[in-house]
């Protein structure tokens, strides 16, 4: 800790910071542009100038850039010094010389860092009245709009895009007054994290294109905390609504999870909420096997009908979902009884999840949050394609590879925030990052070593690494010299690190990789390291579902097939994505009544006899457990129209309707609000006991008031629906959370889950998050970053996993078909967003060139492939990274339902088609 003197007042600050960060942490307003808490200082914009004095006798002082000045003990500065003020005023004035007068049509207006800083600096009158520079804009794809005129050349965008996020296709061009930030030519920004440019850019050069299409100012948005449902990482987002449509997603700072950045799938995938395919009415199908013909009568009848069916049922099968909230799954479990509750995922995935749970619960190694991943100094990824399965984790790993070089930077006495000097000192040195898998992405270029092989071979590598690190760990006997060499390199790098991180995925369906990852982590732990484990799970609440337990989907199919039950309740689950069509068809055929609760139309909802409209994430309260076992609360942002209700509420209503004649209510039927759901969830599994601590309960009040979801300046209250009614009905009442659907309520420091949007007087942009932190970049004040449900209790591993798979052998006719996740396309809900849909590639089959030659297939040729009874039209990609003897199938909407990995005879499957066409 150091003491610095600002305008003759002393402040205690962290001496590892720079003066700018230290001042902002104490709520002192110093304007800035190029500095960013996650990206350090380069001193480019000259906006944060302050005066520094040698000592208390120094009266004249000198101007310094506060972002480039270390906050060492005794630093004496003045922010209010007239000379410093005049300097800052002239800086903003020349930044504004070429800035256009287009704030009214600029999407950044009202939440613009440049506007804030201009006001903060006091530049209110523009003296320049000559010609302004203009630029041509570029079309940057479906996510980002470009308006280059507004640029103030702070270089944040390229620093973020190239240095932080590893992007290549955005750069700075031109010279002197004509500097241009963009791509070499028009085209989609390729990086998976391009959406953060919207928040990184201090003005409106890069704006959210999806938001543009239904634009609303920040002050008009009704917002609340949401948890991203598009992958298992559980990034915190702020979902914002206006007049019944979800308008946008912005990043919500959570020091333990996503920090300042989101991936594009999370940011732009929100429009499934506004989809025309949303189910808005409760419906009962009039006649069986006649889809589309449903009565759209009011709510009570479908509910009554469903309750009747449940009462008369011979047995009920309840199918939960890894994308439904914990509360919805618990509600279903309570309604049908734990013995009739099925997880709704296939057996193999369920097996993987329980293995992961076992590893984390019984082993000594804790799971890693994204923040932990950023801090790790050596990373070994086993068979997970992080960029496509858990994109935000990739961004964290791009920072983790700087950890080891940073130690050298520390030796050079360069402060870590001094970004330009750090980059200069580090050059191209990177910390150890070992990536294994079977699909090459641009991220692999950052790896120390890559290893492309079949899942079993990857697992063998993992076991070999564990074997060479850990004493007593099983070693792999028959291993090739190259792999042995690699094993040694990996083992050496991991043992040299202090905080190694081992990551494994579930997509490949390989149990062995997970066990290998556990072995590696345990071996490192045995060596006295502080390793962390991270498992990438398939969906947003997979971990929560695993904690609840329950049978697999196949068990559910068996129960119906054997006639033990005749009624099915499916909650937020498209079974056609989980099992092959024939099985699911047969399942629905055999069931007497199918009750489906879901939000967006899919093939399962088309089979429903009773269809109840479920609320999507931003329309409901709930809890997700992310891949590290962190339970996080998402709050309802707005009340949807139609009959839409949270799944757990439908199930509670169903419970009540069913038990009406039976007399006393029990279980889910007694739930009246979300607090009841949370308390029931807390006793549903021992690990869930602390679920109530995730966020404040519905009875939480500050000064007797709820927290508002709307800003103080939310407009249009008396005219937004005046064309429908003049009577200005009262706003909806929220019984489920301490939030209100109005602009009334407590305006002051709030526990982090209750903050609607980050805003502070004078700080209208997302940079206002600084004012919510005690230390810039550190946790929020009153942060409730979720509750980690799984912490290791064991101090050493109970025993090694010893089942080492045999090496993968290509066969003559069979190819191992492997799933290839795609960041845009593999997630069910985000695919519904038009912007994401534009980025979904055509379905392809990835083959090693030698396999391509064997099958006489050329790159980019189109084939028809028969898989599990369905014909798919695929483009052939010849890709040297896919191991010989395997084939990768891209998981895009067209090929869902194919169970991968599986063995397939490509010769036959493709040839059949060719002969058929020939005939």
């Amino acid at each position: 800790m150091a003491i610095i003197i600002v305008d003759n007042k002393s402040y205690t600050v962290d001496e590892r910071q720079n003066v700018l960060a230290a001042c902002l942490g104490h709520g002192l307003n110093v304007p800035y542009f190029c500095w960013h808490p996650a990206m350090g200082s380069v001193g480019a914009c000259r906006q944060c100038a302050v005066k520094q004095f040698k000592d208390d006798r120094d009266q004249s002082g000198r101007l310094v850039m506060s972002c480039m000045t270390p906050a060492t003990n005794g630093t004496r500065i003045s922010i209010d010094d007239p000379e410093a003020k005049a300097f800052r005023a002239s800086v903003i004035e020349w930044l504004m010389v070429n800035h256009p007068h287009d704030c009214p049509v600029c999407d950044e207006g009202g939440e613009c860092h440049l506007q804030d800083m201009t006001v903060m600096t006091g530049h209110v009158y523009r003296r320049y009245r000559y010609q302004k520079r203009t630029h041509r804009n570029q079309a940057l794809g479906p996510f980002i709009r470009h308006e280059m005129n507004r640029c103030i050349q702070c270089y944040r965008c390229v620093r973020y895009y190239r240095d932080y996020a590893g992007g290549r296709d955005l750069n700075v061009f031109g010279s002197h007054d004509a500097v241009y930030f963009g791509r070499e030519q028009d085209g989609t920004l390729e990086n998976e994290f391009s959406g953060n440019l919207v928040e990184v850019c201090p003005t409106g050069v890069f704006t959210d294109k999806t938001f543009f299409h239904h634009y609303t100012r920040k002050w008009d948005l009704q917002a609340a905390q949401s948890i991203c449902p598009h992958c298992s990482l559980g990034c915190n987002t702020t979902a914002a609504e206006r007049s019944g449509t979800l308008r946008r997603i912005t990043n919500r700072f959570n020091s333990q999870v996503n920090g300042y950045f989101l991936c594009d799938r999370g940011r732009f995938g929100y429009e499934y909420v506004n989809s025309p395919h949303r189910i808005k009415r409760a419906m009962v199908r009039q006649e069986r096997h006649q889809s589309q013909s449903r009565t759209t009568e009011g709510v009570p009848q479908p509910l009554e009908f469903a309750a009747d069916c449940l009462r008369q049922a011979r047995g009920i099968v309840g199918i939960g979902s890894p994308r439904a909230s914990l509360e919805a799954n618990v509600a279903l479990q309570s309604l049908v009884g734990p013995q009739n509750f099925y997880q709704g995922i296939d057996q193999q995935k369920g097996q993987l999840l329980s293995t992961i749970l076992k590893v984390l619960q019984t082993g000594p190694v804790p799971s890693a949050s994204i923040h932990d991943a950023e801090q790790s100094d050596a990373v070994f990824v086993l068979g997970a394609d992080l960029l496509n399965e858990a994109p935000r984790l990739t961004l964290a790993l791009l920072q983790s590879i700087r950890q080891q070089p940073m130690e050298q930077v520390d030796e050079l006495k360069i402060p870590r925030w001094d970004e330009a000097a750090v980059r200069n000192a580090v050059q191209n040195r990177r910390g150890p990052l070992f990536l294994t898998g079977y699909q090459r992405t641009w991220f692999h270029e950052y790896a120390t070593d890559t290893y492309f092989a079949a899942p079993d071979d990857i697992a063998r590598l993992g076991f070999a690494v564990a074997g060479s690190i850990g004493q007593g760990a099983p070693s792999v006997p028959d291993i090739s010299p190259e792999v042995k060499d690699l094993t040694q390199r990996i083992a050496e790098a991991l043992t040299h690190a202090q905080r190694p991180l081992i990551i494994a995925g579930t997509e490949s369906g390989s149990q062995a990789t997970i066990e290998a990852a556990a072995n590696v982590a345990w071996a490192l732990h045995q060596q006295g390291k502080q390793p962390r484990l991270s498992f990438v799970l398939p969906e947003c609440n997979s971990a929560g579902l695993a904690l609840l337990g329950g049978g697999s989907l196949n068990d559910a199919f068996d129960t119906i097939r054997q006639g033990k039950a005749d009624t099915v309740i499916v909650v937020e689950n498209d079974l056609y994505r989980r099992a092959d069509q024939a099985n699911v068809d047969a399942f629905f055929e055999a069931a007497q009544t199918v009750v489906v609760i879901d939000s967006v139309e899919n093939r399962t909802t088309a089979q429903a006899d009773v269809l109840l409209p479920a609320a999507t994430g931003p329309e409901s309260d709930g809890t997700f457990v992310n891949q590290e076992g962190r339970a996080q609360r998402f709050y309802q942002v707005f009340v949807s129209d139609g009959d839409v209700k949270e799944s757990w509420r439908w199930l509670s209503d169903l419970g009540r309707a069913t038990s009406q004649e039976g007399g006393s209510e029990s279980g889910v039927a007694t739930w009246r609000n979300f607090d009841d759901a949370v308390s029931a969830t807390a006793i549903a599994a021992p690990e869930l006991a602390r679920i109530g601590e995730v966020a404040p309960s519905a009875s939480f009040r500050l000064m007797g008031q709820k927290a508002p979801r709307q800003s103080e300046r939310c407009s249009g209250r008396t005219s937004l629906i005046s064309h429908l009614t003049m009577h200005e009905p009262p706003p909806p009442v929220d019984h489920d959370s301490p939030l209100g659907f109005t602009m009334e309520g407590y305006r002051g420091p709030l526990p982090s889950p209750l903050i609607s949007q980050f805003w502070a007087p004078g700080w209208n942009s997302i940079q206002a998050v600084n004012t919510y932190q005690d230390e810039v970049g550190g946790p929020l004040r009153d942060e409730m970053p979720g509750v980690r449900l799984i912490e290791p209790v064991a101090t050493k591993a109970a025993g090694w996993f010893t089942t080492i798979p045999r090496a993968f052998q290509p066969t003559a006719h069979q190819w191992l078909l492997l799933p290839l996740s795609t960041v845009f396309g593999s997630d069910e809900l985000s695919n519904q967003s038009p912007a994401i849909a534009q980025r979904i590639g055509k379905p392809f089959l990835s083959l090693h060139p030698s396999d391509g030659a064997r099958l006489t297939l050329e790159d980019q040729s189109t084939i028809d492939l028969v898989l599990q009874g369905t014909t798919y039209r695929l483009v052939v990609h010849l890709n040297p990274s896919i191991p010989v003897g395997t084939a990768g199938l891209s998981l895009v909407p067209e090929v869902f339902g194919v169970r991968v990995p599986t063995w397939v005879d490509l010769l036959k499957a493709i040839q059949t088609e060719q002969t058929r066409r020939a005939a």
């Binding site: 520079r133 061009f173 299409h213 003049m726």
Partner: protein
């Protein structure tokens, strides 16, 4: 005692002064037989104007709705594919049953689109008739400000104006030029 007399006298004098008004002419204007003079900047009915080229001036920036103290203005921005990058309000609604004619919207408007005009005759029998949609608000003239055209100043590209063709704009930068 003296004060009491002064108070008493003042009361009587006040009574007398008021009583004298019996013989003066009322100042009331007998509307509607007699139409009052309204100054051009009278804050009456709200209209949306068009720029000199006949296009809607409103760019749906939401500032009027934010400035409105009774929150009686609501709108939704939309982009017009016809006029490239030219934003316009998809709907624009003023609930005149709430409007207090304070003129804050006009002050806030950066494009001179929303203007209050000297017309106050808006009475309706049904309140719902006081809800004005864009069709009711939009006039075909420029209102009080004749020459202002936001898009000539704004720097953004529109259908009829390329980058660099606006007022005080230099031609677009040639990034490839290395000239100093």
């Amino acid at each position: 005692m003296m004060n009491t007399w002064i108070y008493a006298r003042n009361l009587v004098v006040g009574l007398w002064i008021v009583f004298k008004r019996t013989f003066t002419k009322p100042v009331t204007v007998q509307y509607p037989e007699e139409q009052p003079y309204l100054p051009p900047r009278w804050r009456g009915r709200i209209v949306l104007t068009r720029d000199p080229d006949g296009e809607e001036r409103c760019v749906a920036c939401y500032l009027c709705s934010a400035a409105c103290p009774v929150d009686c203005i609501s709108l939704q921005a939309a982009d017009n594919p016809e006029a490239h990058e030219r934003r316009y309000p998809e709907f624009f609604r003023i609930n005149f049953s709430r409007c207090i004619y304070c003129g804050m919207c006009e002050e806030a408007c950066p494009t001179n689109a929303i203007q209050l005009i000297p017309d106050f005759e808006q009475s309706e029998y049904a309140r719902r008739n006081l809800v004005y949609e864009k069709e009711d608000l939009l006039i075909s003239g420029t209102g009080k400000y004749h020459d202002y055209n936001f898009y000539r100043m704004a720097g953004v590209r529109t259908r009829d104006k390329d980058k660099g063709q606006g007022e005080h704009e230099l031609p677009p930068v040639d990034v490839k030029s290395l000239m100093p």
